[in-house]
């Protein structure tokens, strides 16, 4: 199928194709920018092609100009198509593909903010990533912008599109709903949500820029793991796999198994965390406490296996740093059987709570058509009836060697998203058992790695929240020239606009939470300075006595 698509492209756009490069199952097609939109339209006519993200690269130090990669992948076959085009510095415009791929909305706005490229024909070219007070004409991801830049503040107001005759309800930047900064503006009539606007990216840490300018290739896995506070290991694995693919090295079998085991443990504790939070949002705090009680042994197990409850620090390019010992294997099996029992009992109780059922069923519905249109990923996509799991479609680590089911439900409501995650926890438990059973002997890391320059690597993993993508271009002296991360929540948040429209206000929090949003994953791109002009340190004692200044 994918080969057919590539033949079609070759046939229809032969005059515009500059070059085709194939690296295993990744096809890089370089085209002239004027044919970009019709070409993407042709690709998107195929139902199994899923748009992932776009990457902007400042190539001026290499060969002049800027380059944009649009990454597409097949949801059935293990193939990815990357369309890229360049533009000289004198003409910073590129045709937008949003009219034919609505899912590219954010990615193009991000490139516009960070590299200063303009996308002609973009329906909504507002600021996305940079804060409201960021001065114009400073583009953080350009190579001539230092990573620690702190430009002067130039306050402007963000142009929210507020519908008429509604009251505005702010959720965030601090709100008990989610314990991370984010800003949703809900427009409500009575108890009904009419529209919603999102303004996020309050917690940029400049991780991509940092990785490109200060860190060497083997330091990045540790910073990549800190992209997310819950599913960090999937990020470091994804990064390592991208580099491994770029430089063409094989990872020892045992290392691949260990990676898979840790990834599945991470999925279990991440889903349990989410189920707890969902209970809390529905007012069922007892469920919240019990979900987290069941989760605790998993965290302790991770500590036994890697030395850390979270942020394992186990990945390096070429393999893993810690081996799983015999004692660890035994402990893992014990913990798994314990949590399996407790989890099943817990789910039985949870499903017998009337309020939980009432409030999850038929709320926050995302139809299959909308899900495909918005290019959502992970449990959100699978709850809307699309069978796409990176572990199956693009097997990595040791997933090729284990058998497991991909739970798919067609209702598309919050209940379906809950059940998908419940099923995935049980699947993960079985996957780990099988992996441990088959765990091969041997080395856990490939030594002596050389990083040649200007190689491209693309890797995807199935994070607990969905498809996670890391794209790298290697640079000189063991540095990474460009490192792009697309976390799953980044793809899922735009779909909330559809899910929230017309839903009662009381279901808005659980619907927002149903995509399991991870704002620190999404907000990872560059350095920002949001300090006010003066900072005063106030002793705690004074605050507690009610005197702030």
């Amino acid at each position: 199928m994918v080969k057919e698509i590539i033949e079609n492209i070759k046939g229809a756009f032969a005059d515009y194709i500059i070059g085709i490069e194939v690296n295993k199952n990744k096809v890089y097609i370089e085209v002239e920018k004027k044919c970009l939109r019709p070409l993407v339209k042709l690709i998107k006519t195929n139902k199994q092609i899923h748009y992932v993200t776009s990457v902007g690269v400042d190539e001026r130090p290499l060969r002049g100009g800027f380059r944009v990669y649009h990454i597409f992948t097949s949801i059935e076959e293990d193939y990815s198509i990357i369309i890229h085009t360049s533009t000289p510095q004198s003409h910073l415009t590129i045709p937008s593909i949003v009219p034919v791929t609505p899912g590219a909305n954010w990615a193009e706005r991000e490139i516009q903010d960070l590299l200063g490229l303009k996308f002609t024909g973009h329906p909504d070219p507002r600021k996305l990533i940079l804060p409201d007070d960021w001065p114009p004409n400073i583009y953080p991801l350009r190579k001539d912008t230092p990573y620690n830049i702190r430009p002067p503040s130039k306050p402007t107001l963000y142009p929210f599109k507020r519908p008429r005759e509604t009251s505005t309800l702010p959720i965030g930047p601090y709100h008990p709903l989610l314990h991370e900064p984010e800003y949703f503006e809900l427009y409500v009539k009575g108890e009904e949500v009419v529209d919603v606007e999102y303004r996020g990216f309050h917690v940029h840490r400049g991780i991509e820029k940092l990785g490109e300018s200060k860190l060497t290739y083997n330091q990045i896995p540790f910073i990549a793991e800190r992209i997310c506070g819950i599913c960090g290991f999937t990020h470091s694995t994804c990064y390592c796999q991208a580099v491994e693919e770029a430089i063409g090295i094989d990872v020892p079998e045992r290392a691949r198994y260990i990676r898979s085991i840790l990834l599945e443990l991470e999925r279990i504790h991440s889903h349990l965390l989410w189920i707890g939070v969902a209970c809390h949002l529905l007012g069922f705090d007892t469920g919240f406490m019990h979900a987290w009680r069941i989760r605790e042994p998993v965290m302790q197990l991770c500590e036994i296996l890697t030395g850390n409850r979270k942020t394992y620090g186990a990945n390096l390019v070429g393999g893993v740093r810690w081996d799983i010992k015999e004692k660890g294997v035994k402990k893992t099996l014990n913990v798994l059987s314990k949590i399996e029992d407790e989890f099943k009992r817990f789910i039985e109780d949870l499903m017998s709570i009337r309020e939980v059922k009432l409030r999850l069923t038929n709320t926050g519905v995302l139809t299959k058509k909308d899900a495909l249109k918005m290019e959502v990923v992970g449990p959100v996509l699978r709850a809307s009836g699309v069978k796409y799991d990176v572990r199956k479609a693009h097997p990595y680590a040791a997933y090729k060697e284990v058998s497991f089911n991909v739970p798919v439900y067609s209702e598309g409501d919050n209940m379906a998203r809950l059940i998908v995650r419940i099923d995935e926890v049980l699947e993960s438990i079985n996957i780990i058992r099988e992996l441990i059973d088959k765990l091969p002997k041997g080395p856990i890391i490939t030594e002596e790695i050389e990083i040649p320059g200007n190689r491209k690597g693309l890797s995807m993993t199935e994070a607990p929240r969905g498809e996670n993508l890391h794209f790298i271009i290697t640079g000189r002296d063991g540095f990474i020239y460009r490192w792009k991360v697309r976390a799953p929540t980044y793809a899922n948040i735009p779909a909330l606009k559809i899910m929230l429209k017309g839903c009662p206000l009381s279901d808005a929090p659980i619907t927002i939470a149903s995509i399991d949003p991870c704002f620190s994953c999404t907000d990872r791109v560059k350095v920002i300075d949001i300090k006010t002009k003066k900072t005063i340190t106030v002793p705690l004692m004074r605050i507690s006595r009610g005197k702030i200044w």
């Binding site: 009251s167 505005t168 309800l169 702010p170 709100h175 008990p176 709903l177 409500v188 108890e191 209970c279 809390h280 949002l281 529905l282 007012g283 069922f284 705090d285 007892t286 469920g287 919240f288 406490m289 019990h290 009680r293 709570i353 009337r354 309020e355 939980v356 009432l358 409030r359 009662p504 206000l505 009381s506 279901d507 808005a508 929090p509 507690s544 006595r545 009610g546 005197k547 702030i548």
Partner: protein, 322 residues
């Protein structure tokens, strides 16, 4: 009769009232209740914690919280009306007045004819004062919380009106003290007690009916702008309201239990039994709270409407003399 003799007469009556053992015990009961209400809230938190496999805070945590809050700075939002600061005080005073009229297992000498109406009136008025205070803060979350609370209140007040009516039919009186004497186990009384239990539960801002606060949804709703001592007062109102509702529900149950046990209770034992019933009911409610989620507004209102059938049925039974 001269002025002097009238004064002496009045003094005599007052002296008799003061020196009567039931008044002394009433004062003791009021003070006990005001303290016990706060402790019971701590017990509720402890019960919830045990059900959730947690240690839970110390029993006196609620008291510590209230004291701590009362030392904190009060921030009045810009543009809030004057009522914002007065509302929690008014609400609390109304509830404290209510403590005077509860028959704590014996005839309350402060009671008068119609104090049942006053009791309910003050309970509802205190809730309305809090809602109005929240509304005057001008916060959108607060507005939504208030509208939710009012829609629940409207549905629920009809229930209590019907309950009072059927009680009045059965006991022939609108006084709380009369409840102590004239209640016998009949179908209508049984239905009334169940209806009252449901009313008390809904009115006590517990899950799944705490839609007006709903922390994850509307960030504590009508309480959102309250801080410091004002928040402390508002929380106090919640705690006392819960306790008062429990005492109201305990009266008929106490009478039924007293009629069953063969021993004749003296005034002290009666009081102890009454408080014991209050505590048990309070703990029962705590357990229900911790195993439920939160209703959507429409579900909550529909539930209240459906539960109206009970007081209607009991009223019908009462009118035909059952």
């Amino acid at each position: 009769m001269g002025v002097n003799s009238m004064t002496i007469n009045m003094l005599e009556i007052i002296f008799q009232k003061i020196s009567s053992p039931s008044l002394l015990l009433t004062i003791t009961a009021i003070i006990t209740s005001i303290i016990l209400a706060i402790i019971l809230d701590g017990v509720e938190r402890k019960i919830r914690a045990r059900i959730q496999c947690r240690m839970g805070p110390p029993i006196l945590q609620t008291l510590y919280d209230l004291v701590k809050l009362s030392h904190k700075e009060v921030i009045v939002p810009h543009g809030a009306s004057k009522f914002f600061t007065i509302a929690p005080k008014i609400a609390l005073v109304m509830l404290i007045i209510n403590f005077l009229y509860v028959p704590y297992g014996f005839k309350n000498p402060l009671g008068f004819y119609g104090d049942l109406i006053l009791f309910i009136y003050l309970l509802v008025a205190s809730t309305i004062a809090l809602i109005y205070g929240g509304l005057s803060s001008g916060n959108p979350f607060s507005e939504i919380g208030c509208s939710r609370e009012v829609s629940l209140l409207m549905a629920n007040e009809l229930a209590i009106a019907l309950i009072i009516a059927s009680i009045a039919f059965k006991t022939g009186s609108l006084s709380l003290n009369a409840l102590l004497e004239n209640i016998t186990l009949t179908p209508s009384i049984l239905l009334t007690i169940i209806a009252l239990a449901i009313y008390a539960y809904i009115e006590s801002v517990r899950l799944p009916f705490d839609i007006g606060e709903a922390e994850p949804e509307i960030a504590t709703g009508y309480l959102i702008e309250y801080s410091g001592s004002l928040l402390s007062l508002a929380l106090c109102c919640h705690i006392y309201k819960r306790y008062l509702l429990m005492t109201l529900l305990s009266i008929p149950i106490y009478v039924l239990i007293k009629n069953i046990i063969p021993v004749k209770l003296n005034i002290i034992l009666g009081f102890s039994l009454f408080i014991a019933i209050v505590i048990v009911l309070y703990m029962l409610y705590s357990i229900i709270t911790s195993i439920s989620g939160r209703f959507r507004v429409i579900h909550a209102v529909n539930f209240v409407r459906a539960s109206l059938l009970l007081p209607i049925a009991s009223l019908i039974l009462a009118t035909i003399g059952l």
